[in-house]
Subunit: 578 residues, 2 copies
């Protein structure tokens, strides 16, 4: 199909919008592909809508091929259904809520676990009807506290969400794997540079397996941990390092701290309440110190011990504690729980539950707070001088640590945008919603579920982060808004006009979508707009039109070519892709 | 593509759901195409979703061909924008409202006039960028007081809405006509039996022209007025009859009523306060009586006079009065406004504005209430004995009346479901939103707008009303969920199984979507399910499989045919349609 640019709504901006921090946000605004209506709420303009539609179609094709079935579930979800799963309260202010004229409460769906579970419960009562995977593509709502980066973190966004129902965990594994492979196909076709990494189920999942699909980009808010040698990949919440052995890590070797003997000893540390202050005062390294941090787990204080050079991983901690909510305690709670001044908390003699990271237990001679203002204790032996309630992996890995799966690699950190997620839910929803079927043995059994999401509008922005620069975008061919951009330099020139018409017709009859810039504008304006639109194959009809010669620009590289030859090559390469 | 039925979520219901009054509601539920989540809120199941997708694609293709451009505007619309147009208050309880975490108010879009006007205002500043028509297909919200008939009147539904922007009224006429023709193409391709009728702009439009596209169906809540001879079509709100002349209509001839002379006379009419009671008591016809009805127009009482056999048309009345809201007054207001007992109101001596229908003014000798309990006045001459403030067409036409446009026809009433609407909005929104562009003369001018809607999910239900019966549906080919339904009578029979495989592959490689019923069920169950699914071409593989002979059932008609021949014919007829 041929579209003439003068008739399209494709308003470009010459100025860089001041509010747009992210490259994709700037480019999508400047290219006239989106417009903001309210904070985190955007209109998709014709060009943006075309890209989004291509992404939706890729997703649809790959999910259909994987045996998933498309449905559309309502945006309005009865609050009572959400109360059954417990999420109506748990979800917090991110859940948008609305009352109808009869004062009945509804949630505006951010996801559809409850609705789909109730649906399947109503219509599927035998193992013979399983497995099933349903998916939908539609508008979702999440009232983000800080919407930012344009389409990367919006409050109203386009999402694909899918749900699988299996007889048992083995069945779930099969459905999960099929979706995992479909995701790979989708992101590859879309031209995304991504990693599939192990992730933590967090609040949503309970059956263990979960992966995130991360678009690699500096603007990404997630840290992706990869190995310099092997295929290992995890998000920071999930990534584990190698557990340091008693003498494995150098820093933990028993040795005298600044001449202090290897036994407990009170040290006067006036005003030194932070790791850097202690290191400066005592001339020691952070890895010789144990940090004692007070958290509130569902409102109750607990102590968490990590090495001075480590950070607590709250996701791991939360799972170990088994709490819904884990957060760093305020000063009041800390002082009350440790009976000591802030900055001098320590594990010895504490009467609240103590969670110690494995690396702490590998230390042989450590400095801890003395639970007394201006005093620390040296020569402390974990496991001897104090006994934690629980020992585990409660810390973030650090860049450069040894890879947990291969012997040679070191961990490398990269920034990622989460564009997809696959979860093993298990029976998390089917139990509270009492959703069961008759299994092979004739007994009632709960559905074993998986859930799967792709942020479609976010994926569009992630592609721009990867394929954009400050001058414009070059869309991957499968998702480009048009196949060919035909720019006529001087529309008043009859030769140019006629050649452009011939070219457009030839491409269109080869089933390609052609955008023709036939505006009466200066060449500079046209080419700058073309850069912003990012259509990968650009044909420029200019001075050599009389000789049938045009300029073909791909990815910034130009060459002169006979017009018939260009049509032939472009048609061929598009046929191949199909 | 081939889909195997045993793997699909297509749950049929044998029982007729008690709550479903409308045929389409029953069939869509029984065929497993929709499921209710809440009152007026439905999930589209895989089969229903496929039909909906076909409808969406037809709409998209025809609107693209008409030069409209697809966008997606947000569901969440800032309340302030709606306040600018005045609709935030006017829309009433049908508008769903939601507050975000910062207590900012939003409307959940039932339509997008405000959003699109603001959008165009921001990006289009010259006549050179006009005309433009934007459309979108998406979920809309309207909190209906009485959701009913399944998808025919829902609270969350799928709609196509479009908006055109022109320089002037002539430009609007061109855009309107293009959309009108696109609508004709859409509804014809969808296989709908419809009429395009003149309609009243009602609250939404102010530029005069508006048409409704009515699917003809007995369940329809609208009355469509057509002519027995000519092409005339209007909805009841809009339809006008021929104005009766003083001696044109027979009933109005001057004559004595029951021996009462042709001059005003008090008649004792004890307990006769209704038209039938008066007719019974006095032996006269309804068309000899003037009904005096008291309405409140934006809270102020007015009197409306229509002939005893006529009904007030509130839409016409509202436009004549120029009020936002016109409703029949309660007993208290009526008694106070007429200083008389209920049922005995009359026009003589009234000191509130009187609106008289043209047919009343054509009466020469009428009976009216005497504004005194148990008394009427006979021999009243409109225009002599009382003088209305305004005379006009304030009534509904009646079936059998003379057609207003041709000399031969009589008006025929039919029931219709409104599936589409095209409006000339004019500057109704561009003025309050202060949305203007620089016109050819260099002056700022307001956009002249049109708006256009198709109820996509309602269209799906309307098609079922027209193509359904209590045993099932036969979908029009362009919208059928699959092209071919291949039913294997005995899946345990190897010959049948193998023939079915060959057939499915041959059809699929001709680019047709095939649903194969390979379930291990009794033939009766399979064929009843097939009736409910309504796939128009059904191929039944049974006993003659060994001879390569199958049964081809179209629209209830069966014939035996060699399988290769069936593939050939079906492929050919589908190619033709493309």
């Amino acid at each position: 199909m041929i579209h003439y640019q003068s008739k399209q709504l494709m308003p470009t901006l010459r100025e860089t919008p001041a509010e747009a921090e992210a490259l994709s946000h700037r480019l999508l605004l400047r290219g006239g592909m989106i417009r903001q209506l309210a904070s985190g709420v955007y209109t998709y303009m014709p060009l943006g809508r075309r890209v989004l539609r291509k992404l939706e179609n890729i997703i649809r094709e790959e999910l259909d091929a994987a045996g998933a079935q498309e449905v559309t579930m309502p945006v309005m979800q009865p609050a009572d259904l959400w109360r059954q799963s417990g999420r109506y309260d748990d979800y917090g202010p991110e859940l948008m809520r609305v009352k109808d004229r009869n004062n009945r409460e509804f949630a505006l769906g951010p996801t559809h676990e409850e609705v789909v579970t109730a649906l399947i419960h109503g219509d599927v009562d035998s193992y013979k009807q399983l497995p099933l995977t349903l998916y939908q593509i539609g508008t979702k709502f999440r009232d983000e506290k800080r919407p930012r980066f344009g389409l990367l973190r919006g409050r109203e966004f386009v999402m694909m969400d899918a749900y699988s129902f299996s007889e048992d965990m083995e069945g779930l594994d099969v459905s999960y794997e099929a979706m995992f492979q479909a995701y790979r196909a989708i992101f590859s076709r879309a031209g995304l540079n991504y990693l599939a990494v192990e992730a933590d189920g967090g609040a949503i999942g309970d059956a263990g397996g979960t992966h995130e699909f991360m678009a690699l980009a500096d603007i990404g808010e997630d840290t992706v941990v990869t190995c310099s040698c092997c295929e290992y990949g995890a998000n920071l919440e999930k990534a584990s390092g190698r557990t340091p052995g008693k003498s494995g890590d150098g820093a933990n070797n028993a040795r005298e701290i600044n001449g202090i003997a290897d036994s407990r000893q009170r040290l006067h540390t006036p005003d030194a309440s932070t790791i850097p202050e202690l290191c400066g005062l005592l001339g020691i390294e952070p890895q010789e110190i144990i940090k004692t941090l007070i958290y509130e787990a569902d409102g109750k204080p607990i102590a968490v011990l990590v090495r001075g050079d480590h950070e607590v991983n709250e996701t791991k901690l939360q799972q170990a504690v088994g709490a819904v909510m884990v957060e760093l305690a305020g000063a009041d709670v800390t002082v009350a729980a440790t009976s000591s001044a802030k900055g001098f908390a320590g594990p010895i003699g504490l009467n609240i539950p103590v969670y110690a990271d494995e690396a702490v237990m590998a230390m042989e001679n450590a400095l801890v707070g003395a639970r007394e203002k201006d005093w620390h204790l040296g020569g402390v032996r974990p496991g001897v001088d104090f006994q934690p309630l629980s020992v585990g992996d409660f810390r973030n890995v650090k860049e450069g640590e040894a890879c947990p799966t291969c012997s040679r690699g070191k961990l490398v950190f990269r920034r990622g945008i989460e564009v997809g997620h696959v979860f093993k839910l298990g029976i998390k929803y089917s139990v509270p919603l009492n959703a069961s079927f008759q299994d092979r043995g004739g007994r009632q059994s709960h559905y074993v579920m998986g859930c799967y999401g792709i942020g479609v509008s976010r994926l569009m922005a992630a592609l721009v982060e990867q394929h954009g620069s400050e001058t414009g975008i070059v869309w991957p061919r499968e998702v480009a808004p048009y196949n060919v951009h035909l720019v006529v330099i001087a529309i008043a020139d009859a030769e140019q006009r006629q050649l452009a018409e011939k070219l457009a017709k030839a491409l269109s009859s080869a089933n390609l979508d052609v955008l023709v810039d036939e505006r009466n504008e200066r060449p500079g304006v046209k080419l700058k707009d073309a850069d912003l639109f990012g259509i990968p194959d650009r044909l420029i009809v200019g001075r050599s039109a009389a000789q049938g010669i045009i300029e073909w620009k791909v990815n910034g590289e130009s060459r002169e070519i006979l017009w018939e030859k260009a049509v032939e090559e472009i048609t061929l390469s598009n046929d191949k892709r199909k």
